[in-house]
Symmetry: C2
């Protein structure tokens, strides 16, 4: 229990930026430009609402896309994994994408079938976190993203567990956000077709908590789980 | 409307394979090997249950991960996009990942926090589909994946719409499937800790259909949408 969650000084180095999102060649939308969001708050909202991201790395010249957990502190995204993970050892230049599917768009024409979604893509060079304080803070952020409140009640990582874990930090410097919502956009001449069009919303929610078999009967589900 | 959905001969070239999934260096799991599934039916199940995939490509040596729709016919995955899409023009060697998050695993130790999920990763060289019959079949499979039944009632693609669309085919030849389910796995010494542990299941379902504003009042929601 030597490594504890860091003091406030750590957060001071992660002040929120108010600059709008970058428009580098790879983050500028070339089509459907009306779907772009350039407010940094939109980036944070997409990230904060997610559970996992898809991490893209290049290994031997080939792409690899790995679903993995993440956490955010200010303008830094944290990723983690086993020190032996190929995808983390290969990290460096990465692309992290977080996507929420909000519904299926039924159009009157096959060409205009679509999906309502919110997505964020972040490009950059991932840095291996070596500072113990930042490493622990990054891991806490990862747990907060998935299971808010659990870090504060769970046994903190042992030294050897920390040694088995690689934590990567990715600055939210080069990023794009795309959002599509609403009904289908159709050709004018298709509007009179006798075809139902609209949106079938996708609903995501939590089911009933399932206690681990080793939890003694009668132990209540804690509020940070039950009230989610 | 010259290009119609193809005859059965097309399907005969897409017979289902019964060979187990490949174990190439990049699809063999190096850790948590008990999460691997090698039955081809598991791959199909993960793919068929999804709405979108994350497509990984390499552009100028850097990874890019794009959320996009897909469809499956037998042992071939189809992707599509605008002919101008950078990610499709750069395609060639790709990695396609489909992930379902089934729940959050609350553990008694920070180190063992986890996620229940099903995921599939497919590696390979994407082929640009040029045959009109296969192109239309691929687009139909894409619509069936997102909006089953809508292709049969919607206006088929115009020639010019097909010309604006690139369809890629990716063989399900080199693929891996990972599944994690069930309660946390913990250190023996942690089981007595007074920390709630278990699984909070994630539930995904459909909301009420939202008709497009141009749908005349009183038009019923068709069965292929309402019964989903």
């Amino acid at each position: 229990m030597a490594l504890q969650y860091g003091p406030l000084s750590f957060y001071r180095s992660h002040m929120l930026s108010t600059t709008p999102l970058s428009t580098t060649p790879r983050t500028a939308l070339t089509r459907a430009k009306d779907r772009a969001r350039t407010d940094r708050a939109d980036l944070h909202a997409v990230l904060d609402a997610g559970l996992i991201c898809h991490l893209g790395v290049v290994i031997d010249g080939c792409p690899r896309v790995v679903p993995t957990a993440y956490g955010r502190i200010g303008e830094t995204l944290y990723l983690h994994g086993s020190t032996g993970a190929t995808s983390l050892r290969a990290a460096g230049e990465v692309c992290v994408t977080v996507t929420h599917v909000d519904g299926v768009v039924y159009a009157r024409s096959a060409f205009h079938q679509s999906v309502n979604y919110r997505s964020a893509m972040i490009y950059g060079t991932a840095r291996v976190v070596t500072d113990p304080e930042e490493k622990t803070a990054g891991l806490r952020a990862l747990t907060e993203q998935l299971a808010p409140g659990q870090w504060d009640v769970a046994r903190p990582p042992y030294r050897k567990e920390l040694a088995q874990t690689t934590v990567l930090a990715l600055p939210l410097a080069e990023a794009s956000v795309k959002v599509r919502q609403g009904p289908p956009r159709e050709e004018e001449e298709d509007l009179a077709l006798p075809v139902w069009a609209g949106v079938l919303p996708l609903r995501v929610g939590w089911g009933d908590p399932q206690p681990d078999p080793a939890v003694p009967p009668g132990v209540p589900v804690p509020s940070h789980v039950a009230w989610r």
